[in-house]
């Protein structure tokens, strides 16, 4: 049991070192080559050079898109999953097999297809970029 704890702790420690190292690069203005630990920890660069307005609007956009994706997927996935598990016949088995396809598709494939439909054929309310203009900043003036 002790051995198992040790191996799990070793694994956790390895990942902790990876994350900790990133922290140094974020908090130090510079780390000259052979040094591992910076001479000074100074977050002024991180704060002063950051465009917080852009970061916040980007974060908000990402959150809205993520929440919408989860909500839309749950609305459709739950009843489909319920139907597929409750009624099992040849048709539902074919459906289950088909639903496996998006797992194998590269992320670019639906993106290219939606771009083709919404942007190139001019069916999107936005001139370019987002398919669902959730944030007013992206609406054409």
């Amino acid at each position: 049991m002790k051995q198992k704890w040790l191996s799990l702790n070793l694994l956790n420690s390895f990942y902790l070192i990876l994350f900790f190292h990133l922290g140094f690069w974020l908090l130090a203005p510079r780390i000259p080559f052979p040094q591992i630990i910076p001479d000074e920890i100074n977050i002024s660069g991180l704060v002063e050079l950051q465009n917080f307005e852009l970061v916040l609007s980007g974060l908000l956009n990402s959150l809205i898109v993520a929440a919408l994706v989860i909500a839309i997927n749950l609305i459709f996935a739950l009843p489909i999953a319920l139907l597929l598990t409750k009624y099992q016949n040849d048709f539902t088995r074919v459906c289950s097999g088909l639903l496996y396809i998006p797992v194998l598709a590269p992320v670019l494939l639906p993106a290219f297809g939606l771009y083709e439909f919404f942007i190139r054929s001019g069916k999107s309310p936005a001139p370019s970029g987002p398919l669902f203009p959730a944030w007013p900043a992206h609406r054409p003036k």
Partner: protein
């Protein structure tokens, strides 16, 4: 009679739900890409598709997936014998929620020429990132996917397998022997599923090879994105063909693995 009507209603409901769901949108997007590729297809589009890029993508994806699944299943087998409720997975859970781009940046800072490892061991001249062998990409996927494999296999572990492992131990079998002859065959469905999922993801992902890969050979997904952004129509079509090729390779590997598993059983 009522049962037949019921099943027809269910089939109709299922078709409706699938058609209006994001899956229907996916099918539509897929058909749009295929239709656009066919309608504007010309042989000059193939000039932009390199066989070396394709083979590089497939080989790197296979190596990184195989290593991640092997290491992950070895560690999960090592951890499985004790009561998993008592374990705290800690940082492993955090690795799962870190985006691939963020993790690729961590790998870059750790393994690059002037990164942490080069500083610690004074490794001058050894290139692990942006190299032509794709070592940086493999490292990133192994380190990112191993926790996923561990947590997945631990979560889907069946209690009766522990009994077989215990019996094998009693009969004097070693760690690797139990792993190879009991743990992997009894978890073959889970291992195969996770292999296919990770392989398809690695082959289609573009952020990690974009940040950690070399300019040549490139991952097919990276060159697909740069071709897509080009103003040349042939290059645009080449990008569509590239994503279709990636998709077909994933499906072929998935079918091949499933056939192999059926024959092995």
């Amino acid at each position: 009679m009522e049962k037949t009507n019921n099943s027809k209603l269910i089939i109709a409901l299922l078709i409706l739900l699938i058609c209006v769901s994001p899956f229907g949108l996916f099918l539509y997007a897929f058909s749009k890409v295929v239709a656009q590729s066919i309608s504007t297809f010309s042989l000059s589009s193939f000039d932009y598709i390199s066989v070396s890029d394709l083979s590089f993508s497939i080989i790197i994806s296979l190596i990184s997936t195989a290593l991640a699944v092997l290491i992950g299943s070895l560690i999960s087998f090592h951890l499985i014998n004790s009561d998993k409720q008592k374990f705290k997975y800690g940082i492993l859970n955090i690795v799962l929620v870190v985006p691939h781009l963020g993790f690729a940046y961590i790998i870059y800072l750790f393994f690059s020429d002037s990164g942490f490892l080069a500083r610690l061991f004074n490794l001058g001249g050894i290139t692990l990132i942006n190299d032509q062998l794709g070592i940086g990409i493999i490292l990133n996927y192994i380190l990112k996917e191993v926790p996923f494999v561990i947590l997945y296999l631990m979560a889907t572990h069946k209690k009766e397998i522990s009994g077989y492992i215990f019996a094998a131990k009693d009969l004097g079998a070693g760690f690797l022997e139990i792993f190879q002859k009991i743990y992997i065959p009894l978890n073959s469905v889970q291992v195969m599923s996770i292999f296919i999922v990770i392989f398809a993801f690695v082959l289609g992902n573009y952020e990690v090879p974009f940040l950690l890969g070399a300019n040549s050979p490139q991952f097919l997904s990276v060159s697909a994105l740069s071709d897509f952004q080009s103003i040349d129509l042939d290059q645009n079509i080449a990008s569509y063909l590239k994503v279709i090729i990636i998709f077909m390779v994933s499906i072929l590997i998935s079918f091949a693995l499933r056939l192999y598993m059926r024959r092995a059983k």
